[in-house]
Symmetry: none
Subunit: 356 residues, 2 copies
DNA sequence: TTTTTTGAGATGTACGTATATTTATTTGAC
DNA sequence: GTCAAATAAATATACGTACATCTCAAAAAA
């Protein structure tokens, strides 16, 4: 069994307390009410309550009820500890972000407490609860799917009253928590602009559809094309989802792809890994990448260095560093500022100048 | 009812502990034994044990039993915080290691406090000092260059007296701190063995000389060659340093490399990035990689997935996970154990079977 | 000999039932 | 209106059952 039922109840109670639904001293739902709410047996509910009692969240009074009673271990002393919550660590942009955060924070004598959510809301809840317990001086969060309604939103709302917060990549606008993010629209614009300036007119693109940055980069791409009055043939713009990767670039779909990108002299790719896919695709079909077709990627990853691929760098390190600086500023002065990170094209040899 | 049954059991256990019948660390009667002894139900016994656990008299270990473990509350109070110190984060093996550590620790309700040393001794010193201040429950360390004399060695010696430690990748043998590391010798052996079993006899290799794993992988490589009585031509083994990367694989040295690997049907590469270098090198010189020359890499990185490169996986995730488990074991029981991580070959299409 | 599998024993999770004790509110007698 | 009794609601104690999961050592296989 993945998460025991009693643990579900525990997490729920904890997060409700942290949200502020039940305040210190107030009466919690009775065992019977919790039974009905979760449709668990009374024993299971009692186990959860008993655990929380031992952890110092609740107090039971026989015959009366269960009450929130938070034991404040130590007062509001400085911990010089910052919580950093991210969705993933293995995707190649995150290590750089963390590096940026770590460098700034350690220069200011802060430690990092790291949490990884794997884009799962429940994991995020438990990390947030444990950070509240630990009393951090501030948090930097890359929230789980910010487009969807997130039950942790209320915890964040509670959080920001006492503890400085900074979001990175995405945020909940209604919460008024500052955001540090890369400028994907500008990145898409620059990529297209870079090709156009070197004489390319028929430009294809590959974007990820199930991802916010994908849409933003497309927006920037189109902006550049319109600025130069270049008609965009939608056929040349390929949208894919994570699931498409399985078959779309393995060779089976080459005939389709050839038609989609027929006559294109340059391709803007969603990221460097996609650029690699396209390079392999062209090689398989006797089209020389970089020479016959210019290619431009995103992320300026290790991959692009090895491939000698021109790539749009969104300064992942700076994103982390500036987020950390914004947080420290907020801790010191209370001033809430966000940042948009600059993008930059790292020139390598994958784009050919075809002007006469 | 005057005194509840569970209280009777509690009092009995307490007095037996105080009498010295069961000493600290010793195994208490099992739930079933207590059931029989008192003729109470298992739930009642469990309640008594659970209360004593919360009072700091007992500890339950699932699948093993209930043990006497008397906690002295005040001084060394639990922080449920583990320090993790690594040299780098951006090199591609580290995120996986951290993921392994994080998963195990968060399952056990520990937080991670992350420190990055960038292989600099002074940075390591300041991180260690700040962790001592923070009173972590344990640390997992990837030490800075363990071959060199490290002034932090004494800090570690102090550390390990009070706080459980685990080293990963490398350690200072004289400190007697357990080590979790990958088995590079075995990895080198497996890579060579894999090629030999598929009919390759003239096998080249590229190893990193300024790095411990490079030497270990070479050692394993030679072991396999000797086992099959294959004479190794030292000319076919290329050693490089970090600095060599600048010019050795950019094309200028192709003539030299061609001579070095003349006639080789397979190449063992120090890691996947080096494998990519070799692939590019062969392509430049009209030798079809994978077809004319089999190639095997190390690390099973994203790169190898994209290149469809057979690679030796040293289970970076497991390294982190097992190190974390070893640390938790040490915190709970005081038992100091290290682990050697298994290696495994991830088969893809870069090695050709050339047996007749 | 070494490695793998099996199995017994231990704790963990979960449900059901029944009765006891305490608290707080409502009801009813005065 | 006041006070005591009845009642409802809440937690406390206690037993039974079932199956899940983990540990460790013994047995079996390589």
């Amino acid at each position: 069994m993945s998460t025991p039922k009693y643990a579900i109840v525990q997490e729920w109670i904890k997060s409700e307390i942290n949200k502020g639904t039940y305040k210190n001293g107030e009466k919690m739902l009775s065992e019977n009410e919790l039974m009905e709410k979760f449709s668990f047996s009374r024993q299971t509910i009692r186990l959860a309550i008993s655990n929380l009692e031992n952890q110092g969240y609740l107090e039971k009074i026989k015959g009366s009820g269960t009450y929130v009673r938070i034991k404040n271990n130590n007062s509001n002393r400085e911990t010089r500890n910052i919580g950093v919550i991210i969705t993933y660590l293995d995707e190649y942009i995150f290590p750089e972000i963390i590096k940026g955060i770590e460098n700034v924070l350690s220069d200011n004598n802060y430690n990092i407490t790291l949490g990884i959510t794997y884009n799962k809301v429940e994991k995020e809840t438990s990390i947030l609860n444990s950070l509240i317990n630990k009393k951090v001086d501030g948090i930097i969060v890359e929230g789980t799917k910010s487009a969807m309604p997130n039950p942790n939103k209320e915890i964040y709302a509670q959080f920001k009253k006492h503890i400085p917060c900074i979001f990175i990549n995405g945020s909940y606008p209604e919460l008024d928590i500052p955001l540090c993010s890369m400028n994907d629209v500008e990145g898409g614009y620059m990529a297209a602009n870079y090709l156009i300036e070197r004489g390319h007119k028929k430009i294809g693109a590959v974007f990820k559809s199930d991802d916010m940055p994908g849409h933003k980069r497309y927006e920037g791409f189109m902006k550049a094309m319109h600025k130069y009055n270049i008609n965009v043939d939608e056929k040349n713009i390929l949208w894919y989802t994570t699931e498409d990767l399985e078959f779309l670039f393995k060779g089976d779909a080459d005939a389709i792809l050839l038609k989609r990108f027929e006559g294109c002299t340059g391709i803007v790719c969603y990221n460097d890994q996609m650029a690699l896919n396209m390079i392999r695709f062209f090689e398989r079909n006797n089209i020389k990448p970089f020479d016959d077709v210019s290619i431009i990627g995103f992320d300026n990853s290790t991959l692009s260095k090895f491939l000698d691929l021109t790539s749009v760098d969104h300064m992942k390190y700076d994103l982390g560093a500036l987020a950390a600086e914004a947080l420290i500023k907020q801790i010191k002065t209370g001033e809430k500022t966000g940042v948009k990170i600059k993008t930059e094209i790292i020139e390598r040899s994958s784009v050919k100048d075809i002007r006469n």
